[in-house]
Each structure stands twice: as C-alpha cells, then as structure tokens.
C-alpha cells in the first residue's frame, strides 16, 4: 500500500458532508484538480473500515500571513528581497474533494476523518463503479482514455450498455475549434469501440457526416503516432493503425464532372462512391428543402399527389397533350408545363382541386431543388446511394458534405438518417448498432430558432434512437447553444478545452471554479468525461488517432482542380479499370453530348461491371459516323438571254 499523502480535516465553518470533504497535503504532493483519492476511515462501521473515494475539485493555498501588508512591510516594499528571507512562511495545500463513492454505501454518512491516499488503478475502478462492468461475464468496458495522477495510470472505461444502449446512449463532445479534440476524440473512440464492442452484442458500424474541412477524409490512411501516444495505445490495448474498412460517399460538383470532396485526388478515388439521387428520393424529403412558407397545406397536398400518382407512373389526363412518365426533374418539369398550358387553354383556375397558383408555386420550388442541390440531385434520376441493407460490421461510412450548400447538406442528412432508421426498425440495415457522427450541432440542432426538419430528426434520434440501435455521437463548440433535449439525452459527455465565455453559461454552474479553470486550459489530447456510472466528471488523456490528419492528408493528396470532361471521365473510370487511357475516352465520347457522357459514366460507376470499357461504350446510342456526300458537279452557268425582261 502506498504512503498516505494527506489527512482529512473538517471545521465547523468547513465541515465534511456525505458528498464533499477537505484534506491537506504536503506542499510537494502530486495532487491536483481531478486527482482521485481514497480516504480510509479510522473507525470500522459494522466491522468494515469505511473507504471513501473522491475527486479533487478545488484547491486552496495560503500562509499564516494575516494581511498582504505584513509581507510588504517585512520586505520594505521590495519584492526582490523576499527571496532572501531565511525561512519560508508556513504554507498549506488544502483541497476539497467531491465524493465519488462510499463503501459501505449505506448508511450514507459524512466523510470521517482519516488518512488520504492517492487512488491506485484498482481504486479508480471501484471509485468510478467500473468494477460492475469490467467483471468477468460483463465485459462491456470501452476504453476512452487514461487517467493519470502521481504515479497512477488507470484506463478509464465507458460502459457499452450506457454508450450504445439499451440502458442509456449517445455521446456529445464540446470544445473549442482548432485543437484537434472533437474529431480526434471521435476517431479514437470509434477505433476503441470497434476493438472492444462485445461480439455478443452484435455488429456495429458508423456513419460520419464530414461537415467541414478534410478531417474525416483520410481515416484509412496511417498518421503520425508520437512515442507518448504509442504508450497510451499500449496501455489502452488498442492497435495504433488506421481504420481497415472505410467507405466514402460524396456528390458531384455542380458541373457534374468531379466529386465534390477533399478526397477527390485520383489516388484516393477508388474508395469514393458518388452520392446522387433522383426525383423520387428527393420528393420524399421535400419538406427538408422547403420552408413553412413554401409548404402550406395546399402545396403539401399537390406534392403528395405528384408523389403518389405521377412519379414513376404512367400518367394521363384528358386535358394533357400526352401521356407522361415522370422519372426525373426534367420529366417533372415537362409534366408541369403540360398541365399549366392545358389550364391556360381551358382558362381554368384549378385542376383536380389544385389551384393554378399552387401548381405554379410548387413547380417553381421543386424545379429549384435540382439547381440548389446540383451535383447531388440529378435530372436523369440516376441513384447512387449508401449500401442500405448491406452495411458491414466495423466499417466507417463517411459522407462528405463539407463543400455543399446548406440545403444539400440538410437533404443528405435527413434522407440518410431516415433511411438508416427505417432499416434499423426493420432490422435489415446489415448491422445491429449504428453510430451516427454529426459535428457542428450548433448549426443542425440549435437551442433557439425555428424548428427545422433536421433538428426534429436529431431530437428523434436522441430520444428514441437507442431502442433501435441508432446512436448519435455529436460535437459542437458551444454546448449551451444546442437544443437541451439533444445534449440532455446524451448519456456520455466529453469536454475538450472550453471557451471561457461558454463556461460562464449556467450549464456549467455545477462544476467548481477550479474545474472550470482546468477545462479552459486543457491540453490537446485531454478530455473531461461525464458518464452515467461516474458521479463526478473525470479527466483523461486519449491518444492522437492513428489516422492521417486532415491537413497532412490534404497536403499529401491535394484536391483535384476542375478538369476537362475527358479527364474527369478518365479519373472516374480508371479506378475501375487501370488500362483505360485518355485517348480511349476521347475516342469513345467524341460524338456525344456532355449530358450523355456523364450519364454513361454514372451508370458505369454504379454498375461496377467486370468489363468497364465495354459497359461504358454500350451506354451510348449508336451513331453512324457522318460520311461526306459526293459533291454534285457544278453546271456551267448559262448566260442570260438577251431578251430577258428581268435581266439587268
């Protein structure tokens, strides 16, 4: 057993309670804010020596100096001479600790006087109630980091039952930007989760929405791991390596030539799948893109009518000029045009109970979608999507929406999460548990402002997701600005370095001033954790993720510039067939329009055929090369008759 490093003290003014106690230590004792200590009571209770575990939340230091003026007088007002004093004043290090656990737990009494010891690894497990889920037979511990104090190094585990359900679920991370905390913590936690999530609990995968920067774009590439991180990886029992299974999804740019992602360097394209949706996919989520002014009851009724009766069906009406089969935005626009022209001819104000103004409004709004979400929504109706139904265990699916307009981001988020939810409800997603990571929660689920579709979805996941196995890992800079029900439903919360302004908001009032100060000055790689088993927040260190960081990746794999159509086709097809060359592409596509070429490319990428060249070429209509017609022999020009009345 280690030596005592302090003694519990209590006075009438500063008494100990069942939840808080005070102790003093030697000046050079390795105790600080966040240190876990153990108090051994002096008197047994029902035959058992009480052990109290606490975490230091406040520290005080003072001397026997009655007033600062005495020090000034004592050194004649010269601070430099103070260092020459033969004796240092008697000084105290007095700490306040919040109780983590008392053993025995009943009767719950004020903390008794006793000696204070630095908690060892076994003590930390008991103090944080980790012993309940690290015991043989439970094994639901997921390493989150290493607690360090004095000579003690203890792995801190989260309980998978409280991180991914069914007991509690969801995780929220707060921290200032630019300190590589939020994204790094999630990357590290996913690696730990994939390693330690119990096999008997089923399969697990993650869908990460990359909403800004290239941070999540190189998860499959190894990054630099410092020696200190190596030691942490070893302690935590996780191999320092990039994710083995990662799949990327990104829509095209507005021009449709290149993928709109930081990962569009040719060397990385083999792992990037285009994300394109057609009319049907978008109409289901029209509400996401249309605000309340757009979607009144009448407009909603018309959109429903179109979805139910027009899209993907043979539609005819006596007033229309022809039968319509609407499969794309282009088809839909033609249908609208026909309807409106027919109404004009009839001079009617309504058609099938829909007023002409409503029809014009809905046409206008829906037509806009393909423009606002260009690159994602295709006129052609081609669909390239996440592999719903065949999600794989321990795989990360990254959806890169960083470069998209807000509308497109919202649409992608809403549709993907809805589809994930549907599949999880039907138990046919391919995995049993799914983590959805969303950064910038301030933006997607703000505490104030209008109620958006995306916010409603996030609330729904936060409140009901755990029953489905759908778990939200969310991050933001300002927790106080996120909807209370989203963060409130997060069973586990992580805090990186915090902005002092944020710390002054009421949500942090439960933390001691010293803990708040520590939060404002946390180093990279340090986190404060709140977890249902921990009665007080705990500080840990986690290793830098073993994946390539965004900045490094974007330097090593620079984003491709806009390229010509031929080059774009080459870049898209070469990962499928390395023998394809630019001259071959130019020869095959020479006679076709840009729209046809892009459609052929999209179809080929979607099909991923064995014979890429043949498949790609087969997408084009047959065109017989034009042959030069023989020039007719020019006849001699007859001279005008002399008596020609029109001659001049």
């Amino acid at each position: 057993m280690s030596e005592a490093l302090g003694r519990v003290v209590a006075t009438e003014r500063k008494p100990n309670t069942p939840h808080e106690f005070h102790f003093w230590t030697a000046i050079d004792s390795p105790v600080g804010i966040g240190t876990i200590v153990r108090v051994d009571g002096a008197n047994p209770m029902e035959g058992q020596i009480p052990h109290i575990y606490g975490i230091v939340v406040e520290g005080f230091s003072y001397t026997d100096l009655q007033t600062p003026m005495h020090d000034v007088l004592g050194h004649d007002g010269l601070p430099t001479t103070a260092g020459y004093a033969a004796t240092e004043r008697a000084e105290i290090r007095l700490y306040t600790a919040a109780v983590l656990r008392q053993i025995p737990e009943e009767p719950l009494q004020p903390v008794p006087m006793g000696q204070v010891f630095l908690a060892e690894e076994a003590d930390v497990q008991v103090a944080l109630r980790m012993d309940s889920y690290l015991r043989e037979g439970a094994n639901t511990g997921i390493p989150i980091g290493v607690y360090r104090a004095g000579g003690t190094e203890a792995v801190i585990y989260l309980d998978a039952d409280f991180l991914l359900g069914p007991e509690a679920a969801h995780l929220n991370i707060t921290g200032v930007s630019g300190l590589a905390t939020k994204t790094s913590a999630v990357e590290w936690l996913l690696a730990s989760l994939f390693k330690y999530f119990p096999e008997d609990k089923g399969s697990i995968a993650a869908v990460c929405f990359n909403v800004k920067g290239p941070d999540l774009c190189y998860l499959d590439k190894p990054g630099k791991v410092e020696k200190s991180d190596d030691a942490l990886y070893e302690k935590l029992g996780v191999e320092a390596k990039p994710f083995e299974n990662v799949r990327y999804f990104a829509p095209y740019t507005a021009k449709g030539l290149a993928l709109n992602t930081f990962r569009n360097n040719e060397a990385l394209l083999d792992n990037v799948t285009p994300l394109t949706w057609g009319l049907r996919e978008v109409l289901q989520f029209a509400e996401v893109l249309l605000n309340k002014d757009d979607i009144d009851a009448k407009s909603d009724a018309l959109i429903d009518f179109i979805t139910e009766n027009v899209v993907d069906k043979e539609f005819s009406d006596p007033i229309l000029s022809k039968k319509h089969r609407v499969q794309s935005f282009a088809d839909l626009d033609a249908w609208f045009r026909d309807v409106l022209q027919a109404m004009e001819k009839k001079d009617g104000e309504s058609w099938r109970t829909h007023h002409v103004a409503t029809i014009r409004k809905v046409r206008n709004r829906l037509s806009n979608i393909s423009t606002r979400c260009a690159g994602l929504v295709t006129d052609s109706g081609a669909v390239s999507d996440l592999p719903f139904g065949s999600f794989e265990d321990r795989t990360v699916y990254v959806v890169d929406v960083a470069n998209l307009e807000e509308d497109a981001q919202d649409l992608i988020f809403a549709r993907i999460v809805s589809k994930l939810r549907e599949h999880l409800e039907r138990r046919d997603l391919g995995v049993k548990h799914l983590v959805v990571f969303v950064d910038e929660l301030n933006k997607y689920a703000p505490g104030d402002g209008s109620d958006t579709y995306v916010r409603k979805m996030l609330l729904d996941i936060a409140e009901r997701g755990r029953y489905l196995g759908l778990v939200l890992f969310s991050a933001q800079q300002f927790r106080s600005q996120v909807h209370r029900r989203v963060v409130g439903n997060s069973g586990t919360s992580l805090f990186g370095r915090m902005d002092p302004d944020e710390l002054s908001t009421p949500g942090y009032a439960v933390l001691s001033p010293a803990t708040r100060t520590k939060l404002a000055t946390l180093e990279k790689g340090q986190l404060m954790i709140r977890h249902p088993h921990f009665t007080q927040p705990i500080f840990v260190r986690f290793p830098r993720p073993a994946v390539m960081q965004g900045r490094e990746g974007s330097e090593l794999y620079p984003q491709a510039n806009d390229v010509s159509l031929d080059a774009a086709i080459l870049r898209a097809l070469r990962p499928l067939d390395p023998t394809i060359t630019l001259p071959w592409v130019q020869e095959i596509t020479a006679l076709f329009t840009e729209e046809e070429i892009i459609r052929a490319r999209n179809a080929t990428i979607l099909a991923r055929p064995d014979n890429v060249k043949a498949y790609f070429a087969a997408q084009f209509r047959k065109i017989i090369p034009a042959q030069a017609a023989p020039r007719p022999l020019a006849g001699s020009i007859k001279s005008a008759p002399e008596n020609d009345p029109y001659g001049f």
Partner: protein
Amino acid sequence: MQVGNSSPDAASRTAIRLLMDWLPGASAVEGSADLDLGARADQPQLISAEIVEGETLGAIKVPGVTRTMVSEFGAFLDGIQKVRMIGRHFGVPLVLGTTGAAIRVRVNRRLVTWGGRPPKLEQKLYLPLRYLPQLSESLHARTPRKYGQFEVIDTSLADASGAFPSEHPTVLLERAMRAVDKHRDSLEDELAEAWCASTAAPLFVDGGISRNGRVASSMNAIGVIKSHFTLYVEGDALKTVVGLARGERSSVFQVTPRSRSEVMSWYLRLREPEGHDALWGLVRIEMSKCDNPTERADEISRWVLAESTPLALPDGRWDKMSYGIRDVEEFLRAIS
C-alpha cells in the same frame, strides 16, 4: 493575570471530574481561563555588567549587514505553558498546567519538527497538598504521584528559607504558575541539551541560555531575549543601548547571574526605533564565552538580523520576535 477566555477543554473537564471524586467540596470554576504571569513579582531593574569588548559600552555598527545576508541558524527552540484554574476546594486553587517545548529545524527554508528529540508536551495538576490533606494522604502511597493521567505537583513545599506559602489563594495561584513556568524551562533545557550534544548547527533559543550549564557553554546555543525586565546597563551605557539604531549592537559584556552560568551578551537593534518606545526592536543576545567576542557577536548579530524577515505578525511582539520562534509557538499551540 487573565490572558484568554475559552470554554473548558477535554483535559480540564477530565481533571476536575477526578478531583471532585477525591475532594468532597471541590467545585469547578465556570469560564475558567488561561492565566499568565503578566504581572510579575520582579520589578524592572538596571544591573551593571562587566564589559568584555573594549573599555566602555559603545554602539557598534554590525559589519556586513545587507539584504542578502544569510542566517546560519539551523533550528529554533521555544516552549509554551498554559495555566488554567479548573476548580477550587474552598479557597484553594486547583490548577491544571500544560507545558511544552519543541525544536523546529529548517529544511529547504521551511521549518519542520526536529526528529532527533520529539516535542515535549505534558499536563500536570499543580496542587498545594499541604492545604488538601485528603489528597495528600491518598497520594502518599502512590509512585508516581498521579491522579488518573495527571501527575500531581505539590506547590506548597517550603522554600529555600524553609517557609511554607500562606493559604492566601493568590499566593497559592502564583506558586502554581511559577511551578508551571519552571517546568517549561526544564523541558526547553532538556531539548536544548539534546540539540547541543548531537548537532553542529546553531540553535536559536527563545530566551536566555544561562539556566543550564551545558547549554550555556555550547557554541551551538544562542539565546535571544525579547523582554527586558533586567537591563544590564546603567548610566551612559543605558543611553547608548536605547540609542542604538537598526543594525547596531552594543559592546559585548558578561552576564553573571546568581545560580546560573556565565555567558557573554550584547544588545542588538532589529528595527528602526523612531516613533516607538525605547525598547522597540531591541533584543539581548546570549552566547557561550569565547576568545573572539567581537567577531562572534558580529556574526551572530547578522544571523539574528537576517531572521527578522518574514515578520512574525500578527504576534504583538513581532518587532523582536523571529519568524522561526513564532512557528514553534504556533506548532506547540496546534498540538497542545
């Protein structure tokens, strides 16, 4: 005579319960308080002393006094006493005395308790057994003479002239206080002797060193006296002493008290006296006799001056008190 007022502590309650069991008619004193020999029987006096540095007593500027001078004192010795009248048996005061002494050594500029000899702390009953015959009889057969946890000291023994103290309560109380005082001195002497026998570093002793022959002859014990009931100067010499400026000392003289050991001594002004009384910041220092009193007095004066920071405030004697001595007092107060 009263210096503090506090409710009875656990020891006082235990002691009075014991006494009330053995002494029918004894009663507790409500609101008993610590007593002090503030009003001393000794009258302030001037005594001439033999000058051993020069012909007449002069003021000498201590050489080498700077802000950066270093003190060589390795430890500080002081004692405490608490005298509490916990009860009375008719007019006879029943006194509980607490005495303690400790040496605090300086390690890395911080003071810690000397491990060579643990601090002394004792609680005894100071009773005039001559006037408490029931107790006297019951104690007669006991060795040691103890009641419960408390040793009993008889304060009614005859003095050197063979006279017993009168039964006057004030006389008996003063006898008790002097006995406590003496007991404290003996504890301090015991520690000082142990230090001088085992350690080479100079010891800063609060008070004189002449009581104990071994201590008085040790080069390691330096006594610093803050009270001046007796001033070892007369006439012009007195004017010289009260006129000392900060950093000045008097010539070294020899103190030869009755029934005590001879030591060398001098006065030293620690703080500028302007605006204060004549004895402000004035201490008298005692050291063992030596062949080079001038050099030694200069050196020790520099050490004592260096010990004048940090201030011993909020102690009222801070003008003369070293911080190290205040630390010992606080330590003893904490454990007593």
